[in-house]
Symmetry: C2
DNA sequence: CGTGAAAAACCAGGGGC
DNA sequence: GCCCCTGGTTTTTCACG
């Protein structure tokens, strides 16, 4: 379904998703059209979900990033999941195991916005916030 | 530095980073070269950090994703940060505030691999693992 | 599943507003 | 900061192994 060549392509694309099929082919010794077929197949079967960009949020005025664990109030999970998608500040959300059932990643301009968000989330459940200090890479 | 047109471009690129400058221009009524100038400027100043892909890990045999909070043992932080980059299973790592000072996202093939990873991490600090059940979107 | 060659579309770079 | 033009590259499609 996905062989070692495909995996190599995925690794390369993870680092630079704008390379042309010709460039990709040069890196792994394959013709452009062969590369294209493989990549397209991975798009079709959903291995590649989306091409995206990574943004430096600080440089566009969003100085605060944080993870928030949310322990949703009894019986409110469906409602909360539906609400969460409406917050533009929430950039990622996952259901997780454990007593805290939702994990959020949020991006905000300043502490005031964080406070506002937490105030709103508090009506949905108990929150536990971890500010992101830096990315390790 | 980054105006509202730039932000629109970022939003579009976040969803589909492979659109041509021509397509981007069509979406926001701008010529291809104007779009190119803006996008290139954002690359130059580092607003766009990288073009990447989102992969469906389950479809390539990685059935387990999890967040792990790590409370690093006293005085070991620098060492741990340096070690963490060596684990291919760790796809994201952040320093965070709170008594648990590192937040990890990990991707693994099965429970055995998770167990192995946790065993290794236990030599660096106290772990707290949350399996990811699903992505909310 | 891979190759090769065609036309169509796209990109970099520079001049002009 | 935006638009247009041009030469060169890339993508796309398709017929073939």
């Amino acid at each position: 379904m996905v062989d070692s060549i495909d995996k190599k392509l995925l690794e390369i694309l993870k680092e630079n998703a704008r390379l042309s099929f010709a460039d990709l082919g040069r890196k792994i010794n394959l013709s452009p059209s062969a590369v294209r077929e493989r990549v397209q197949k991975m798009e079709d079967i959903g291995v590649i979900k989306k091409y995206s960009i990574q943004i430096d949020n600080q440089k566009i005025g969003y100085d605060i990033e944080a993870f928030i664990l949310l322990k949703v109030f009894q019986g409110q999970l469906k409602y909360v999941i539906q609400q969460i998608t409406k917050f533009p500040q929430i950039t990622e959300a996952h259901r997780i195991t454990g007593s805290q059932n939702i994990h959020l990643k949020v991006v905000l301009k300043n502490q005031l916005e964080l406070q506002n968000l937490i105030d709103q989330l508090m009506s949905l459940g108990d929150t536990n916030t971890f500010l992101i200090l830096s990315k390790i890479e």
